[in-house]
Symmetry: D2
């Protein structure tokens, strides 16, 4: 357990940074007070914000061309949990971890649960994996899993998902996220309708195994690994599938899985309206499913998505309770640093969206005052909420400047020694 | 009536071209016979193919930057019908015309019906227009029509659609197509959910006025004239709206209204599967809603769409009966030539799709033989069906080479004299 | 002259807002001081920032579908100058106006120059127009202007550009910006190489007429009005043309004229490196050349572009002296408000880019510390520089809150009475 | 050598198919004769057409998510050559193989040359690889190769390229193709200009080692593996680099390496015009660098590219002599089948482009007859040139139906037994 970040180190670092933080925080408090916003109410909400860490995100990612491993990468789910605990130590916003099976499969799930409890970590959505062949696997997924033309392959994929639910129950999870790589690379390869029907039939069998209180999240993706068509290519197919399955089925939005130029915040609104928004995989992208760090390229888009989410909360929209999770590929950074940074980036969007003057916005909308409506959002976005984020972390025992404190801790160098055979397979691929 | 194409001219031209056509047709017949395809069965289906002409397409189109009118443009719906009759004289595949109101509004719709009867033309889907302000209009659509925040503007837009139905009944149409320009140019300008709710409520009122046997077709568009969001931005919002409205509401696919890279043939398949494919606006595009001539850039995409349509026909898919219509902007060509050419281009895709060996394709699909599945489609696509198209036209009294015959007819020069004040507003804008 | 914004009104409004501004400004000064940044140095640079107003931007824009005019639109270049003066009264960052010929053509250019002098306005780049046909024009540009297959049409277009230079000399401009709509809508319509050769030959003739000290700016555009190909489609063709012409020819970057996903800040860097960055047309877009308000959708992209510009300034890059100009289409807002707002938005990016810690950034870059390099940019971007912008305006006599003061002034209502026949053609089309 | 396709099998299969082929060929000959085209002249040119096979393409490709190996994959360059020989046996259009180092590195390059000679195969362009780290490599390419901030890493990458030239000389190659994965994933990570300067300096050192008669081909790629920026992101940076280096440096066009919607045939024209078209990597794609089978999705685009190439040939454009090569990732098909099929697909575009009536096209272009210009291209494209392709193969000893004959040969099953440990690394990644 010595690898975790020493509380004394955090405290020492925070002590140095606190005077400046207090000065900025007070200035912001006065500014917000002039807008009739109580900074303490916002900071409280910032403290409550949580976003899950994907277990696989703690390893270095790569592309089909290469993977350049970093040092001290976690070699199994226990070490991934260690790294996740460090992230939460510093960020205080990531107490949940989302596992990926069979990558994170263990012999004794109760032991795994005890270990996560000991780290004060909880389990988020379970991710099944039927887009790769495992060594001992009977039927290949080369031509699909839940939509495969072979019934045996479909049954195998269904069975894997049912197992994931079983393991998730032990871990205390409440959600199964299903993303499949099924699709085609050639026109004609697949009969679109028959493939979708097979997919729906398979999903119905999985849905039937869902415990009460659980949700089944469907993830769509426009392309990759299939490059001509995918079975759940967009939110349209996604919501139709969720509607076919029933109320426990919802749609999950991964920010990188859309066609170019698509208005994602509008899709979020549609899913909210039809009570089908299950959750998010946050990341950023420029060209395709780039899986870059959340908010690193399009911070205003991230804000606009949270504008929809906070608005739904504000309107007390029925059935609104989405999951937040990061899903990124860290190819050139220390994964721990990127995850800390990205959690804060998403949290920043959430906090800024809390500052939007909603009654004024409604007024501008009803009067078609496009300019002032836009400026109302921008005023919130321009507000530098860094002091709120830092204060929320500090009050919960986290770091005011988590990257600096992490580097001071020398955690990476320490685990590099303890994980000599890291850099292998199974980690970091998103 | 002297403007129409002289049957003697057509016959004379066809006589010259017939020997070569017969030689090619016979060679193709022998080739198809080796594939167990009876060319006569295909030619018969080609003869039955129909695609509607948009009345506005007979004028020269333009962009926000400029419109460069051609000579002899039609100045009203009567002259548009004349031009449409010429197109059908030559192409024999375009006996229906789709009007646009109020552009084509007349004082006496019965007179208009008599005129179209006299030209052997029928009326296709009625297009309402609430994306422009008319001179005598009480409430502006600057900030939307069916989703406007003003109830008065919404009611005005509803009323216009109800009138369109009324006029359509006189003309013998059976479909109302609703496309609105509603949307926003600024984040925050519109509350996405409230705007969509207002849109749905307005559409419900229109739907309630739909006569038995009619369909209401909803057209989505990703952008333009609104550039940040549109109320019906994609097939997802489209099908949800159609489902909310009821069985007489269906989705219309305009090939140019999608995000870049989107797999349109797959959307067609999804709409077929959920019994919501209402019809098409055919055109081609490279960058946005370019409204280029159908099949001029992406002939294989057009073929793949017809592969889905012919497959649905082949499988006797329930509730499958879509409308076909051209919807193009002819900025640099004679609109009559482009419409003749494009009707033949769409017909070419249909005929080629009829040649697909579907039992073999099914086999390849079930065996995941991606390469041979792809080649099965390509074999049909590579087949030069020009002789079938030409023969189908010739047998029905149309022209073997319709562009050549049209130019020989000097129709354009003739109407240029008869329509001295053409080149004005109201035509060609798509 | 009574239409202009009363200085007393500005002063009165500023007086009310000054106490809060001072509080925020002081807090920001202290925060920046901790980063060793002297706020006064930054504010001084903010005061010097200038961006030109496009004369046509003062009218309401539209699309090929419709234009919804606002009230009191300027009816000629004199009224456009009045509106521009108002924008500068309030923003104090827009003392230059860019005219568009023949839209802004007058009989007596000296009189026009006297009028602009009287308003303390200067003239920015001259824009020629060979993408529309004018009423008295001998040769049509339907099939192109500088690249037309007809020599007479090309000569006419060249002659127009030479006239533009002549008028620009009277007005005191130093730049001619050439954007043409030349291109094609059909594969095969144009011989790509021959069209480009004709374009280059025409441009060489214009270049030969360029006075000493002038620059010729070439603007590329991927599509619209031509939808299959354009003669100067991207920065590649643009820079090659500029290199063929000579040192006075440079490339102009319009933010909306690129393919989806393109990294525009990188293009800016390349043009700087090869000494060919002439200037900018600022606007924002989501789907195509949407011409939305600058920074309204992608504020971080705008910042990243200014990061390149400030970096070039910092490195004292040879030959670096680009023009800044807005080029937007205001379809749903008061154009004056949008132009004020957008000038401030661009200025915001500039000021934020000044805050980047460049020595630290260089260090991170050399050490491949991608995360901290990214965070260094983000730290500057997150800083709310609103107080600097407001203070810079106030110190120069502009408005702390220019939109509010503008609305208080009732300028629009005043001119609405004075411009009874506004809402006509020639304005607002971008 | 028993693995190669038995000539007797080919002859036997061809004998069965020849009567039908002759019938179709004769019919096509008559049709072309009516257009004054001598089919024999076209068939002769088809026989001369050659396109290189990428050595790595003979293995199954994959994505970052998974690779699903096929059976009997080649385990080294000798087995890749065997497979290439089979492809050429059947297609008679692929006598050159393009190697990739260090993947295809051997101890004795003379032995390799002797082996390729024995198979009647020649060597195409040499591909260097500095986008992966090799096991024994001193400096990592994680942060770039030719543009790395570390001089030692740059020198290592330069040295590798110089070695590639050395090996290529032994093999009889005349071209080095350089594609690097250099770029960045975060704004700020890289200084764009400095990175490009480092790249250019490295390339100058490689260029200096180029033997007389060799060419250096630069390949650009918009993204992947770098997801925010790449050093040679588009044809603009590519041609500028080639111009900086000198006349032996040219640009290579990979069809999948462009932004969405980009007009690639126009880029081809520009490179031809500026004497910088080095060659092609043919493949097809829908979403990104999908590396699908050439012409499988966009056959008309492929034709339009060949329309430019044949036009340059027709105009005897100076310095025009591009390399053709396939570069695809075969994830769901037998790579040999895909390569045979794709070579024929590219050849089909070439042959169809030969049929374009160029004098007529020129006439239509000069008269701005967009419709007939478009139809002139379409007439050639619609012509089913399958009989020409088959006859060209048959006359050279290849297979009329190469896929069918390949399957009859049971080659794959045979090598599957001889290559027990296939399915490993190093193959198929594109």
């Amino acid at each position: 357990m010595t690898q975790r970040i020493d509380k004394a180190l955090i405290a020492e670092q925070n002590d140095k940074l606190m005077p400046a933080l207090l000065e900025d925080y007070d200035a912001l408090a006065r500014k917000l007070a002039r807008q009739d916003i109580d900074i303490e109410r916002i900071t409280k909400q910032a403290e409550l914000f949580q976003i899950a860490i994907p277990s696989w995100g703690t390893g270095t990612g790569g592309t089909r061309f290469a993977r350049f491993p970093g040092e001290g990468e976690p070699r199994n789910i226990f070490e991934k949990l260690e790294d996740s605990a460090v992230i939460n130590d510093l960020s205080q916003a990531t107490e949940r971890v989302s596992p990926h099976f069979p990558w994170d499969k263990v012999d004794d799930f109760k032991e795994l649960k005890q270990y996560s409890d000991s780290l004060n970590l909880k389990w988020d959505s379970i991710n099944s994996n039927t887009f790769q062949d495992q060594q001992d696997q009977q039927h290949s997924y080369k031509y699909g899993s839940l939509s495969n033309t072979s019934e045996a392959a479909r049954e195998q994929a269904i069975e894997h998902n049912v197992e994931c639910i079983k393991w998730g129950k032990i871990l205390g999870s409440k959600t199964l996220t299903v993303w499949v790589g099924d699709g085609s690379n050639h026109p004609g390869q697949q009969h679109f309708q028959h493939a979708f029907e097979r997919y729906l039939n398979s999903m119905k069998k999985i849905y039937a195994e869902l415990p009460a209180g659980w949700e089944l999240h469907i993830e769509h993706k426009m392309f990759e690994p299939a490059f001509y068509s995918t079975v759940i290519q967009d939110w349209g197919s996604n919501i139709l599938a969720a509607m076919e399955l029933g109320p426990q089925a919802k749609s999950l939005v991964d920010l990188g899985h859309h066609a170019p130029n698509v208005n994602i915040e509008m899709i979020v609104s549609r899913l909210i309206q039809f009570k089908k928004l299950g959750g998010f995989h946050f990341n950023d992208s420029k060209y395709g499913d780039d899986d870059l760090d959340s908010g690193s390229l399009h911070p205003y888009q991230q804000f606009l998505i949270f504008n929809e989410l906070v608005d739904a909360q504000y309107r007390k929209q029925e059935g609104f309770n989405p999951n937040y999770m990061l899903d990124q590929s860290h190819n050139v950074t220390d994964p721990i640093e990127s995850l800390i940074n990205s959690a804060a980036s998403v949290q920043r969007s959430y906090v800024a969206a809390l500052l939007v003057n909603r009654p004024a916005l409604t007024d501008y909308q009803l009067n078609n005052d496009a300019l002032m409506a836009s400026n109302t959002l921008k005023e919130a976005f321009h507000t530098d909420v860094t002091p709120i984020l830092a204060m929320a972390r500090a009050r919960k025992g986290g770091a005011i400047d988590p990257i600096r404190t992490y580097r001071q801790s020398a955690y990476r160098a320490t685990v590099a020694k303890q994980r000599p055979n890291s850099g292998g397979n199974g980690s970091g691929i998103v």
